[in-house]
């Protein structure tokens, strides 16, 4: 019988323009079941949940194909309101709560209990009086259900962050007729003990017959809590497993998967690292970058090495380079070719031979309103005082030299543009990335750090950039640190790959290590299961 499932999503396919993000995905959840939904970033988990909640971006981009059944009945959810009425609730990763309101008010918001007043008789329901007593009772009950003993009248802003999650859960439970709760990476912002507590609460909720979809990257949590799981990869359903019949290694393998595309020919990689000295030594690096916190990282990177840093989003891999560049407050002992780096001195890294291509191309990487040539030479003017000609009392920029250099770079990196004076804001993503790279190369760096160099760019540009990086190392002996969410890319050009999880290095792997090793490292687990 179909209605043994509370939710079934069958053969869901979704395109954003020509970009297929989901293809023939099916998941089903029984009442009281905890179903884990796993996959790398960009695997399609959020899109699937957006469809379930009828978010407007789904419908404004042409809707989806496939069917959604709730209790065996087909429904077409067009708005989050409708999803709520159908008994689906969501616990968000970023809290959707109002700090200035009390716990009760937060729990009952939008569903306040009211009593009629004179004004409301005349002007309608909007002017009815709040029945605070009843609301508090309801809130208390919801809090009791999940075993929280906080005072329902406290202002939310005064609670520790870990408690807010529980308030959010209480709000969802308080909704009448809730049948299914979605937890979107609920443990990402919690401490270990809070996470433990949350998992307990999830089990408690499910024991009351409410189904749960649990989105997480943490394998251990899945093994501990979930009953069954679905793995998505590149928008496709890879596998559905019952937890009792699988193990961590299998899940890790399923998540990573071998991608066949080889981005760079092995023949170009001939560099021999034997006998190289340490170029960059990082000791106890801590970086306070919001949502990419680095807790403690120590690394030694050799001269002329292409060193990859991988890991899931939000785990801190991007934080490492941003911390080195002084973009966010950082602590630690860094030496470059024996020179000590002062992290609290703005621009020290760039003066000591680092160059950085930011992951945030449009926000940090470029002056969008300026020409390609100005973007390329800016750092050279700023740091190395090049491209200036001396006029006695003052030095002015040398337009001709700049033009020549820009044209050279446009040719080498095959930047598709109308000329060196085109504004970078009007270039395509791939060409913008090449301009960023050209700017970094103009500094002749000793260490080149490229963060997410191929994010959102086409395959041709991707290949060119990666190949160029390999060639650069062969020719100039430049040490290259490359941060990427795409494992395939790291594995095709790096000498070693560090996988970052929870702000720490969980493992440093050779590019030919097995999929399972990568998967386990990403989920912060080692074979044998000793959690770091």
């Amino acid at each position: 019988m179909d209605d043994e499932y509370v939710l079934q999503m069958q053969h869901i396919t979704k395109n954003y323009g020509s970009n297929q993000v989901l293809y023939d995905v099916s998941i089903s959840v029984k009442p009281g079941e905890i179903h884990a939904l796993m996959g790398e970033n960009g695997a399609g988990k959020s899109t699937l949940m957006n469809i379930l909640f009828g978010m407007s971006m789904i419908h404004s981009t042409g809707g989806y194909e496939g069917t959604v059944l709730i209790n065996g009945e087909e429904v077409k959810i067009m708005s989050p309101q409708q999803a709520m009425e159908a008994g689906i609730g969501m616990v968000h990763q970023e809290f959707m709560l109002i700090p200035g309101f009390t716990v009760t008010e937060n729990i009952k918001i939008g569903r306040e209990i009211t009593t009629p007043t004179i004004a409301s008789l005349v002007f309608g329901k909007d002017l009815e009086k709040l029945d605070r007593k009843k609301m508090a009772q309801d809130a208390r009950q919801a809090l009791n259900t999940i075993g929280m003993d906080i005072d329902e009248n406290t202002r939310l802003g005064t609670l520790p962050v870990g408690y807010m999650q529980f308030v959010e859960i209480a709000r969802e439970i308080d909704k009448t007729g809730v049948k299914l709760l979605v937890f979107d990476e609920p443990t990402a912002v919690l401490t270990e003990s809070e996470a433990e507590r949350l998992l307990e609460v999830m089990r408690m909720i499910s024991s009351k017959g409410i189904a749960i979809i649990f989105i997480t990257h943490r394998l251990r949590e899945v093994m501990d809590t979930a009953d069954s799981m679905t793995v998505l990869r590149d928008g496709e359903c890879v596998a559905r497993r019952t937890i009792s019949e699988t193990n961590e290694i299998e899940i890790a393998e399923l998540m990573v998967g071998r991608k066949i595309e080889k981005l760079v020919d092995d023949s170009v990689k001939t560099y021999d690292l034997a006998g190289s000295r340490v170029a960059v030594s990082i000791k106890d690096l801590v970086v306070d970058m919001p949502s990419e916190r680095v807790r403690n990282v120590s690394l030694d990177i050799l001269e002329g090495e292409i060193f990859g840093i991988g890991g899931l989003a939000g785990q801190g891999k991007v934080g490492i380079v941003n911390g080195l560049m002084g973009m966010y407050p950082a602590l630690g002992e860094i030496t470059v070719m024996g020179e000590c780096l002062e992290l609290d001195k703005l621009g020290d890294a760039i003066h000591k031979g680092f160059a950085f291509v930011s992951e945030d191309r449009r926000g940090v990487g470029l002056l969008l309103d300026e020409s390609i040539e100005n973007n390329i030479v800016f750092n050279a003017i700023n740091i190395k005082k090049e491209y200036l000609s001396n006029f006695g009392i003052t030095k002015l920029i040398n337009t001709r030299a700049i033009r020549r250099h820009a044209q050279e770079m446009i040719r080498i990196l095959d930047i598709r543009c109308t000329g060196p004076q085109q504004k970078t804001g009007s270039l395509s993503g791939g060409n913008q990335q090449k301009v960023c790279l050209a700017g970094a190369l103009t500094l002749n760096p000793r260490v080149l750090m490229v963060s997410e160099p191929t994010r959102g760019i086409d395959i041709g540009a991707k290949k060119l950039i990666l190949e160029y990086l390999v060639k650069l190392r062969e020719k100039e002996k430049t040490t290259i640190i490359i941060i990427s969410s795409e494992l395939a890319e790291l594995r095709s050009i790096c000498d070693r790959i560090a996988i970052v999880s929870d702000g720490r290095i969980s493992e440093i792997l050779k590019p030919d290590a097995s999929d399972a090793d990568f998967g386990l490292a990403m989920s912060n687990l080692r074979v044998g299961g000793d959690q770091k």
Binding site: L346, L367, F378, N382, I383, L396
Partner: protein
């Protein structure tokens, strides 16, 4: 066809409308048989005398604080500089130049300008420090700071120990006058250098040269390393930070240059006008300068010297012609003042509404 369309688009609809309006005013002046040649001379005079004040918008916009609505800070500094120069003449500092009255006046204004630049720069540094504390609402804050400084200076004009009989209230009062004549100091000294008539149109060559030279200096600065860095810090603070630039420092530099130009600007303005106006006279000057720069094609985030030269010409030219024309059409009305308010505030409003699109 397409090229023309693009050219028109980059030139901007508001500029086209205003140029048409400007031309219409001249036609009307002709229709009413007014002295068009003298009007043209007025346009040139006002263009040159306001130019440097409007130029002050360039460094402030380029360093990222937006148009300098608090230009009155620089203006106040400049007024103090001019007053000190007058005081020095009374104390006999320029006696050795007395043999050549022209030279003596020239020395007077140069001293005034140097003092104005100094005093305004110091005020500009403090102003910059303040602006750095209110990132995101610079325009609002600078507007109020601009108003406040005028009120503050209103008290100062009464309290500062100036003694010169040209400056203080006649008949033994204390405090400075509302309007101080510069006849004995540096009235029109720049205007008259190489000045000449074409028909009845007077060309204030000296003032125009001073204005364009100042433009050249600012342009050279934008082409220097510091200028390039400052512009980057203004255009994209995150980018600048990644390049190891102290964004706050760059903003202070831009604000200071802007304020200093405001000080120099008011001295040049006063010499052309022939009077030093204190108390509430500078109150709305900042707004007019912002409006002029915006009419010229500058925006909240981007400004070039060309915008200043063109914008000042259009805005001040229009006002110079509108006043007599309006008086002809409707005698004894304040129509021209209404025009000025509509145009200056209208263009500021237009630019602010455009600012959102730019961010997108």
């Amino acid at each position: 066809m397409n090229i023309m369309k693009k050219g028109l688009q980059s030139f901007g609809l508001p500029r086209i409308i205003i140029i048409c309006f400007f031309l219409l005013l001249f036609v009307l002046a002709g229709v009413y048989q007014m002295d068009v040649q003298t009007l043209l001379g007025d346009v040139l005079r006002r263009w040159a005398m306001y130019g440097i004040l409007v130029l002050a918008m360039v460094p402030s916009i380029q360093c990222g604080i937006g148009p300098n609505f608090g230009l009155t800070i620089g203006i106040s500094g400049g007024l103090v500089g001019a007053l000190v120069s007058i005081e020095l003449r009374d104390l006999g500092f320029y006696v050795s130049f007395d043999s050549n009255p022209r030279l003596s006046m020239l020395v007077g204004i140069l001293v005034a300008i140097i003092l104005a630049l100094l005093i305004s720069s110091i005020m500009g540094i403090f102003y910059g420090l303040l602006i750095n504390r209110v990132k995101g609402s610079e325009m609002t804050v600078s507007t109020y700071v601009g108003f406040s400084i005028v009120a503050f200076m209103n008290m100062m004009w009464l309290l500062l120990p100036f003694k010169s009989s040209t400056s203080i209230w006649p008949l033994g009062g204390t405090g400075l006058r509302n309007t101080i004549s510069l006849d004995e100091n540096f009235s029109r000294v720049f205007n008259n250098i190489l000045g000449f008539y074409i028909g009845r149109t007077y060309v204030p060559t000296g003032m125009i040269i001073v204005f364009l030279l100042t433009c050249l200096c600012v342009w050279l600065f934008t082409r220097s390393r510091s200028g390039v860095i400052m512009q980057a810090a203004g255009a994209n603070p995150a980018y600048a930070k990644a390049a190891g630039i102290n964004v706050d420092k760059m903003r202070i530099i831009g604000t200071t240059i802007s304020t200093a130009l405001g000080g120099m600007g008011i001295v040049c303005y006063a010499q052309s006008y022939g009077f030093l106006q204190l108390y509430n006279a500078p109150l709305m000057m900042g707004f007019h300068c912002v409006a002029a720069a915006l009419i010229g094609g500058a925006s909240i985030g981007k400004a070039r010297i060309l915008h200043v030269i063109l914008g000042t010409f259009l805005f001040q030219g229009m006002i110079a012609v509108a006043l007599p024309v309006a008086n002809q059409i409707l005698p004894e009305s304040s129509l021209s003042e209404v025009f000025r308010i509509i145009i200056s505030n209208g263009i500021i409003l237009y630019a602010l509404s455009k600012a959102k699109e730019e961010i997108r």
